[in-house]
């Protein structure tokens, strides 16, 4: 089914090994229960001070006008393949911390933690530097869950963020992050030739020694190297 299974050296879990970002999506619909399960997986990601800065706007082919509106935000090169995905989800980051609740003796530890966090960084109502990072963690949870349900996800960074802001009425203090294309795997032979060739290319990653260091920047260890 996958033309280019990845030659991964260490025994990572199948949900990680089998994940890839396809260009070929089937026209089979995504069942609402499955979509709900993907969003539930995103919901349980960790986040800085449990701020859960992720938001998702869902468009499916069941609602063609809304789907087209989402598609119109995507760069042409990505739209060529993304237009086959039955579900497109815009992820949106909340850029500021929630204001702390007033302290009271019955307060939960969670609220008090939030208060401390805000005071510590003098951040009340603004500047969550982990917003994009945490949206990324939620998006990765969604992606892993998709693999468990035979679905595939392709994250699209190449889209018109300002257009999405305007078309979807994203309020101030929130920022579109990516458009997440979701669906069942399609037949790559039906893709235009250039995309078909791209779909067949082996997945490439830097070797571990280029990005894993011990003790200080740039210092790699024989323990953390990719074997060739």
């Amino acid at each position: 089914m996958l033309e280019n299974p990845t030659n991964i050296q260490y025994k990572v879990h199948d949900l990680i090994r089998n994940r890839r970002s396809p260009l070929a999506f089937s026209d089979r619909k995504v069942e609402p229960e499955k979509l709900l399960t993907l969003l539930e997986a995103a919901r349980w990601a960790p986040s800085s001070y449990n701020q859960q800065p992720w938001n998702f706007i869902v468009a499916t082919k069941d609602h063609p006008a809304e789907y087209e509106r989402m598609l119109s935000c995507i760069f042409y090169e990505n739209k060529r393949w993304a237009q086959n995905a039955p579900v497109l989800i815009l992820s949106v980051a909340k850029l500021h911390f929630d204001p702390p609740n007033p302290v009271n003796p019955d307060d939960t530890i969670e609220n008090l933690m939030r208060l401390v966090a805000n005071l510590h960084a003098k951040r009340g109502g603004e500047g969550n530097p982990h917003a994009f990072h945490d949206v990324g963690m939620a998006a990765a949870n969604l992606t892993i869950q998709a693999i468990a349900l035979d679905l595939f996800v392709h994250h699209i960074a190449g889209f018109y963020s300002d257009r999405a802001k305007s078309l979807f009425h994203i309020p101030q203090g929130y920022e579109p992050v990516s458009i997440v294309a979701i669906g069942y795997l399609g037949d790559s032979r039906k893709l235009p030739e250039d995309l078909r060739l791209r779909e067949m290319e082996p997945r490439m990653r830097k070797p571990l020694e280029e990005f894993v260091f011990i003790q200080r920047w740039g210092h790699s260890s024989p323990v953390f190297t990719s074997q060739s």
Copy 2:
């Protein structure tokens, strides 16, 4: 083993359901093969234009001086529990795109894609807006892989970024993102009382209808609601 199994409504995968951010870590060492597998899982995360903007500096208790240096970057409130984790990893985002390679007729599609990306956004050598998001996806992959190996991860946003930059000689154009504490689950009864109580609290998340919208911002659907 887990004192507060989460009441999750939709059948998310066990690797997502069983994940949590513990405060109690055991003093059992993390085997180097397992640590390598976590980093390999991070390596295979997706990223914008396959830029792989993640970098990791690993400190373990096997090297006490280096471990202490990492620990010294963490806010006091987090250090209280993080000091028990046998592994601390600083994640660092590369904030700029790689400069495009020169075009040649034998160029890979991947290099050409990168070139197009840089030209499109006039970004040559700077400004990857998805750097933090993609580090988050790699960190989530690492976290899910940890659960598959009976390990637990707690991501720490509360640390002194400037101190980490200086102590670990992080070069310009790179930014510390978080410190990732990794280890086996410990006995929460050995925690200080306030942390023990916090460890027992149920995990809380916003209901789906607060962050999942259809068609436009703020418009929720009965399909995407949390059942109570």
